[in-house]
Symmetry: C2
């Protein structure tokens, strides 16, 4: 590229504890190459910011503020749940993107998200070729669900895994103290509608030096009430208590989500989500044991205060690598985490073509789940352990983490408003 | 006391992130005074351990293991939910306690708990006098509910407050990122069935440098659906999103818990607890906004990984002071936290007679809640801020906190089994 081009960066889908660390990696790397990259413009609320020409000028942010992104959870520029349709179904949206990129001299497109955004990124790279406007589209991986292919893991996952493992261990210590006269079963509901990666992390709460009786309900394993109750009962008999980690995506033998049990309140209103209370009811009726239940929901994916250092480092590295790939002329690719060895854990940055990433979902290997369907295998432990490793605390002031809020100054618009 | 007497220590009621720090204070202080205090025996599962003569010999634990109690959540010796009846109703239980204490040469009774256990401790001190067996009964304050009188705060509360404030801030950053196209209201349910101390802590997530729109539902304020929806709606209009912190103890105008809405599943089974989903339903029907909800439950009171240093220090100090009071000959008292000043925060150890502690519940002052009933005042902030201050991280190994498990070696029994 002869002319110095600007870059566009946007955050997509559910945010994580470390997606801003990737933003930090992108912006800091770009600032180191001012000879080649002009300004980094961020999309306000993800790709919607590009469609509506609502761009944020990140050059207005101080080096200190950008550095603080590394320890600030959530999406600093706003994210969105918005999947671009196929080129055939909505060519106008893609054309609009190219118009906006042209108007703002944008030659680099960094899109930070999961499977859907990898697909969008891939389409942008294809369209830019078709339309003769040179855009280098690089996808920056992010998803707590850990379901992107090729990369060994996804930034965002390691920190959720750590949060769930730590919280499950702590709550298990609690219920163990109470079990003699009170609560005997603790149930914690975790994210992961399609794959059991996060639920598996709950199993890490138990380790050889700190054994904890845990029953995991994976979305990969159809719920078998009888077997489940027998497993919980056996553990309560042996240890005096039991912890259940249940994925929001657990399905019954009928293929329906266990959470969708048609709960209604006294007025006949449908009740809203939560598989943990459903499992509590099953335990109450089947075993008549005292229980407590928790639903971690956003707390788990926002928990930057207990983030994994490995995860933060990888999120940052993915952002930086995206810029480096772009500078080397790559297009339609995604940086990946390549595992070199388990113990000691070693990893390096790899590269995957978006054509092989878009619309491919990585499920948990079958040999990560124990034969009874309620636990994790040694193979799974060897995979998960390094991803949760290391602490990386944010700075605190008056007892609270000091997360940054950016100024998010808008770039002056040059085009007419877009009517979708 | 001419003869060197042993001490009894037990944990009572719901455990906390720092009750073991009090145990650490008791044991370490006693070990420093081996000339005056013999062995510290812990009750296995609280007072039940005394009734059943199931005592744990803490001298079998290494100094390192005892020191590790300071950063280990839950009750290391087991707790119990068991309230001794009145002396009239069950004199045999009290007599049994004295028998066990006599048999094991126990002259000090340290009971670590909340209101109910302060009452038990008080009765033991009275009975020992009446029965002519000299026991010095000292209550060590503990409760996440922060509802003990006289003491400025209760060990256990500061860490829950910090957990809720940190988690609410993090989840609020998350929903703020998502609000443009997805979740606009996040609801987190917190503990506190009678008093809104923990719910108030949720308000601390917002600070002058990090403003967050938060609506708090206190158990002290009867739920007014219309006013609540108006408040949420106003905040969503102004900020684009809103966070709701709801106490499990919120009651409707009819005086019934909002959580007890008679939820039933498709089979007609009663649904089990959780006010967060009830509030989600109210928001869905009243405002039709996309929501997410979480129930922190045990995660909040077990979260030693994000404990308040102030809280840990005070928990330890209360345990140590209990021993020092005993050595000075005090009986039927409880060490307290006396606040000397807000900013800079200064506190010292005080002493309260158990006659004034037992069966008294400290509610939130009215002037801690804003006039609209949904927020906290500056007075409340000045009270809460120092209690959450300071970080005190546990050691980690392979990404997980290394909490201690004691050997908990039983003391040989000397009496016949007790039939309650």
């Amino acid at each position: 590229m002869a002319k110095k081009m600007n870059a566009f960066y946007a955050q997509s889908g559910g945010v994580t504890a470390v997606i801003n660390a990737s933003a930090c990696g992108v912006i800091e790397a770009a600032r180191k190459h001012k000879d080649k990259i002009g300004k980094v413009y961020a999309g306000r609320n993800g790709i919607i910011g590009a469609l509506t020409e609502d761009l944020i000028d990140t050059t207005k942010e101080s080096a200190k503020a950008v550095a603080a992104l590394r320890y600030t959870p959530s999406g600093a520029f706003g994210s969105c749940r918005y999947k671009l349709k196929s080129l055939e179904a909505n060519r106008r949206e893609y054309e609009r993107l190219i118009e906006v990129f042209k108007a703002h001299n944008i030659g680099y497109f960094f899109y930070n998200g999961g499977g859907d955004s990898a697909d969008t990124c891939y389409k942008v790279s294809q369209l830019s070729e078709a339309m003769g406007y040179p855009i280098q589209a690089i996808h920056v991986p992010k998803t707590v669900d850990n379901d992107l292919p090729i990369t060994d893991c996804c930034p965002g996952f390691g920190s959720v895994a750590k949060y769930i493992a730590v919280s499950t261990r702590e709550a298990s210590f609690d219920v163990a103290s109470m079990a003699k006269t009170s609560t005997k079963v603790f149930i914690v509901e975790v994210m992961g509608r399609h794959a059991g990666w996060i639920a598996a992390a709950g199993g890490m709460a138990s380790s050889p030096d700190t054994e904890i009786p845990i029953v995991i309900l994976f979305p990969e394993v159809p719920f078998d009430e009888k077997k489940f109750l027998a497993s919980v009962n056996e553990k309560v008999k042996k240890y005096g208590y039991c912890t259940v980690v249940v994925s929001e995506g657990v399905k019954g033998p009928d293929g329906k989500f266990l959470a969708d049990q048609g709960l209604k309140d006294a007025f006949g209103h449908a009740q809203l989500g939560g598989v943990a209370p459903v499992v509590a009811g099953i335990i109450k009726r089947g075993l008549d044991l005292k229980y407590h239940w928790a639903v971690a929901d956003y707390l788990q994916r926002a928990a930057r205060h207990v983030a994994s250092k490995t995860d933060v480092d990888q999120a940052y590295a993915m952002g930086r690598a995206a810029v480096e790939f772009a500078l080397k002329g790559h297009n339609s690719v995604m940086p990946t985490v390549e595992r070199v060895s388990d113990a000691p854990y070693k990893w390096k940055v790899g590269m995957a073509p978006l054509s092989k990433v878009a619309n491919v979902e990585k499920m948990m290997p079958k040999n990560f789940i124990t034969r009874d369907g309620f636990g994790i295998t040694e193979k799974c432990r060897a995979y998960l352990a390094p991803l949760m490793k290391g602490e990386d605390y944010p700075p605190y002031k008056d007892g609270l983490p000091q997360y940054v809020r950016l100024k998010n100054v808008a770039v002056a618009k040059k085009l007419a408003a877009f009517e979708a």
